[in-house]
């Protein structure tokens, strides 16, 4: 086709690895395009080529799980004890005393600011009316976090002591963080039995990796002089480790502790899906099922209150070393005891202080009224986004441009014209010296014509391999292709492409919106003061809560799923963009100011290139967040891998759950490695 004729002459002068990769991909795309009408197996992977039978996988896995079940049951029987104690302790403590203890701890850690944060956070929990449920949740976290901390510490120590396994440990940590929890809940129930212990273990699996990563990082940063001093003074390996290296890595380990806590808290809602525990996550699920937005928001905010208090306090523990007067803490406890005697004696039931219900109902009514008055506008917004954005991206211009969407029918002639324009635009760019960008533009326009969900698989494989080669050399290229092949033979390819499409659409939107918000936050501290708490809330509130307003406005469908994913995945993009732009070294800023740069010149020519690796890291996180949100978007009724995982959970189909979870993790893993590879390249270019 025309795309073929333009590439070679423009590319001949100098071919970097990027240009080569783009060329190969373009060639593969063009060949697929030519042969697709004659060879249907290029676009649809034939059913006979599916090698993995989820039924026999289920049977096989189930047999394996049954084999190790007695050991697992022993673990859960042992864990049931601390779980029961923690639950009894948290629920039996009178609420004024509990508030007092947290306030006093806040004072000891961070003075008046932390004390008032702890006090206000818990008073909010009290007046929300979810005190008992909240305490159950804290009990779950109180047991799962030590388990996760020990596991993380052990994994980190192992990687440090036996450098050979470091690579394998990194892969293990990636798997623990990218396989969606829903995918392995069913096997966990089979192994550990029903009840809160399953939630506890699921949240420990998810929360251990941040701890392990920070432990590894902490050990790497311990200075060699310190280690050598320990060796020279004749310490055994054990003494070196526990008396020198762990204390020296203490700060980094505390960062891990903080992130571990936050991760455990974010899993609370997942634990509730299994049940067995009357916690706050269960309340969110119940209110969500009744489509009561105000009430589920209130229950969700209880988790946010816990998260903010725990995050700020454990963060302060890691960085602040200020001493605060112990007598004040004792005084706070004294007041709490007095309050317990005076108030709790008469009102032992925290339910009596439920004050926020009218507010929740008002929020709920407001949502209804808004939907009623803005219905037409919302529908128009959704239809435009579908017709001109999402549909073409999914099924391509050739299938989505129809008389009742765009007002005319797309024809083969138009396809030809579109490809010609794509080739010419690419050629123009290539001739102006940007060969790789030109080829990439041609490929991108070609994808829009075909649609992501209908891309031929050889094209996707070769494209991923080429990108992998540029980002991380031959190994990454080979790994990407092999892993994608695994999805193909497992028969989940169509669903994987749908996941890829939803993620691509969301990530593109997040980059645009999040980048702009991050930029605005970097330029104006006022904007950041507004954006920051919103980011905090979006990251810790159970995402189920936002499904209700999104569904009220835009109904079941892809657009709602797209918005729900964006709401969660946009946060890292904002944070990292701002962070990267703000953290430019002052010498560079001064030099640019001395040279007479305006604010915008500074941003574009100094800060932006410097921030690029950080922003790429943000992009990486945004992609991973988008993938993790796909499973929750299944509650809206998507048809991708997330839905398969959800379906498998409902039907207790271990084989489907595990294979769909693995497919999801593969997509996330490849995207992660590609972006990290590019970020590394960028950092090297900057000489970091």
């Amino acid at each position: 086709m025309s795309a073929l004729s333009e590439a070679p002459p423009a590319a001949r002068p100098q071919l970097g690895p990027g240009t080569w990769a783009a060329l190969v991909t373009l060639l593969a795309g063009a060949l697929c395009l030519i042969f697709a009408p004659r060879l249907p197996w290029l676009t649809a992977w034939p059913a006979d080529w599916v090698l993995l039978d989820t039924k026999s996988l289920s049977a096989w896995l189930e047999a394996a799980l049954r084999f190790i079940r007695p050991a697992a049951r022993l673990v859960s029987a042992l864990l049931a004890y601390p779980m029961g104690w923690a639950n009894a302790l948290f629920l039996a403590t009178p609420w004024p005393l509990f508030i007092g203890i947290v306030t006093a701890i806040g004072w000891l850690i961070g003075g008046a600011a932390m004390a008032s944060l702890g006090f206000l956070g818990l008073v909010f929990v009290l007046i929300s009316g979810y005190w008992a449920e909240g305490m159950s949740t804290l009990a779950l976290v109180a047991v799962s976090v030590p388990v996760a901390l020990l596991a993380g510490l052990a994994i980190g120590l192992l990687a440090n002591e036996v450098p050979r396994v470091k690579g394998a440990v990194q892969v293990l940590l990636d798997v623990m963080q990218t396989v969606p929890t829903f995918a392995y809940l069913t096997p966990l129930v089979l192994l550990f039995g029903f009840g809160p212990v399953v939630g506890l273990i699921a949240s420990a699996i998810y929360a251990a990796p941040p701890m392990a990563r920070n432990v590894i990082l902490g050990f790497e940063r311990v200075e060699t002089e310190i280690k050598e001093a320990a060796i020279m003074s004749g310490a055994t390996r054990f003494q070196q480790l526990f008396q020198v290296e762990i204390p020296a890595a203490g700060r980094q380990i505390m960062v891990g502790f903080n992130q571990c806590l936050m991760a455990a808290l974010s899993m609370v809602i997942i634990a509730a899906v299994i049940g067995g525990f009357n916690d706050i996550g269960w309340e969110v699920l119940l209110t969500m099922r009744k489509a009561l937005f105000g009430q589920s928001l209130l229950a969700g905010l209880v988790i946010v209150a816990f998260a903010v208090v725990i995050d700020r306090m454990s963060g302060a523990l890691a960085f602040e070393r200020a001493r605060h007067d112990r007598r004040v803490a004792l005084a706070i406890l004294g007041v709490a005891l007095l309050a317990t005697l005076l108030v709790w004696w008469r009102h032992p039931d925290p339910e009596a202080f439920r004050l926020l219900t009218p507010l929740a109902e008002a929020v709920d009514k407001g949502l209804g009224a808004f939907t009623a008055s803005q219905g037409a506008t919302l529908d128009a917004l959704k239809n435009n986004a579908m017709f001109y954005g999402l549909l073409p991206l999914r099924i391509g211009l050739d299938d989505s441009v129809l008389p009742f969407t765009w007002g005319f029918q797309w024809t083969a002639w138009m396809s030809g014209a579109w490809f010609a324009v794509a080739a010419l635009a690419g050629l123009a760019l290539a001739l102006s010296g940007r060969v790789t960008a030109g080829i990439a533009l041609t490929i991108g326009l070609g994808i829009i014509e075909t649609g992501i969900a209908q891309l031929p698989w050889p094209f996707v494989l070769i494209g991923a391999g080429a990108l992998g080669h540029v980002a991380g050399g031959r190994r990454l290229a080979l790994l990407s292709v092999v892993l994608l092949l695994a999805i193909l033979v497992s028969g989940l390819w169509d669903r994987a492409l749908l996941s890829l499409y939803l993620c691509t659409a969301s990530v593109v939107a997040c980059v645009l919106v999040g980048g702009a918000l991050g930029l605005a936050s970097a330029v104006s501290p006022t904007v950041w003061r507004v954006v920051r708490p919103v980011c905090d809330m979006l990251q810790t509130i159970p995402l189920f809560v936002f499904l209700i307003p999104v569904l009220m406005f835009f109904q079941i469908g892809e657009f709602s799923a797209f918005l729900a994913i964006c709401a969660y995945a946009v946060v890292p993009m904002i944070r990292y963009t701002r962070h990267g732009l703000v953290e430019t070294p002052p010498e560079m800023v001064e030099a640019a100011t001395a040279a007479g740069a305006t604010t915008w010149q500074m941003l574009r020519d100094v800060r932006a290139p410097w921030a690029a690796p950080t922003i790429l890291l943000g992009l990486n996180q945004t992609i991973l967040y988008a993938f993790s949100m796909l499973v929750i978007a299944a509650l809206i009724g998507t048809t991708d891998l997330g839905q398969s995982i959800f379906l498998a959970l409902g039907q207790a189909d271990i084989g489907l759950g595990v294979s769909a979870g693995a497919a999801m993790a593969i997509l996330a893993f490849i995207a992660d490695r590609l972006v990290q590879g590019f970020a590394r390249g960028q950092r090297e270019a900057l000489g970091l």
């Binding site: 299994i274 009623a372 219905g375 499904l547 469908g557």
Partner: protein, 316 residues
């Protein structure tokens, strides 16, 4: 009311209930609390009956789809409202293994169907007759389904009865799976607020039936032949061209239940609850904001004749 009490008593006699051993009264019987209010009512009534018989009862929250492994392991002892329309495959597996046993129907008369909020009748004149849908499919069309109309079907893991009806009756509607019950309710709520068209697969008893004034479409009354013989019914070329097969609501217990608590087993087997009793209690909880314990306690004291005989037949 009296009729039901009589029914209960008869049911009790029919199963040959005689006073049974109490069994392990010192150990609590764990009843599953699933995600919906009707089930909470059903379970709390049963739990209070067991308490009246002298047992200890513990209510344990459990995901509806994932409770059967717990039931098989004896981590849960009974679950009292299983809908045949959305029971997971795992249930059949556990019944096959013999680790879970079915303990009879609940007596709750359920109806499933294609439904719409009342205001939709103005947008599609001719409803509730199903034939009206042929002409007004366009009114239900959305960006994702054009040119066909949109039917919001059950979440994918409950099966696709709505889609089957549309194919069977050759109606120009595309079924969109809802993903969750919350999504179904949100659709109903949004359509009612916006006065927009909506066709949805739904069921009763459900509190939303009255809260959003939901009506069922009249589908051709079916029989066995409808689901097996294409020639039967208005569409000569397809099966499923009739109303939903009636769904069964039943109870199940851990296989060791009968041996451990014989009298309790008899109570739960004989236990029946009707739509007329359950629906007002659901309303008192979901619409009027009552607590399930209080609402059930009130019903128990006002309707002693309906449950006391079952307890006494098993214990005295």
């Amino acid at each position: 009311m009296k009729q039901l009490a009589l029914g209960l008593a008869l049911a009790a006699m029919a199963t040959g209930t005689t006073a049974a051993e109490m069994g392990a009264v010192d150990q609590p019987i764990k009843l599953a609390i699933n995600e919906w209010t009707g089930q909470h009512v059903t379970t709390h009534v049963a739990g209070e009956m067991l308490k009246a018989a002298g047992y200890k009862v513990e209510y344990v929250t459990a995901g509806m789809m994932n409770q059967f492994q717990a039931l098989a392991d004896g981590d849960l002892d009974a679950t009292l409202e299983i809908w045949s329309s959305n029971v997971s495959d795992e249930y059949a597996k556990k019944i096959g293994e013999g680790t879970v046993v079915e303990i009879g129907d609940l007596g709750l008369d359920a109806k499933e169907g294609i439904a719409y909020p009342a205001h939709v009748a103005e947008l599609c004149p001719g409803l509730p007759a199903w034939e009206a849908l042929k002409a007004c499919a366009g009114a239900f069309a959305t960006a994702e389904t054009l040119p066909m109309g949109r039917l919001v079907d059950y979440p994918a893991d409950w099966g696709t009865p709505g889609a089957d009806r549309m194919t069977g009756l050759a109606l120009p509607f595309k079924a969109v799976p809802a993903g969750s019950e919350g999504a179904l309710i949100t659709e109903l709520r949004a359509a009612t607020e916006k006065k927009s068209p909506l066709l949805i697969t739904f069921w009763q008893p459900h509190w939303a039936m009255s809260a959003y004034d939901v009506k069922f479409v009249d589908l051709p009354e079916g029989n066995e032949a409808c689901f097996t013989d294409p020639a039967w019914g208005p569409n000569p070329n397809a099966v499923n061209d009739c109303d939903f097969a009636p769904s069964r609501i039943f109870k199940a217990a851990w296989s060791g239940f009968a041996e451990k608590w014989p009298a309790a087993y008899e109570i739960l087997t004989a236990y029946q609850l009707s739509v007329e009793d359950q629906q007002p209690m659901m309303g008192a909880i979901d619409v009027d904001g009552g607590k399930v314990e209080d609402v059930v306690a009130k019903w128990m004291s006002a309707n002693e004749g309906k449950w006391r005989p079952v307890v006494e037949a098993a214990t005295k």
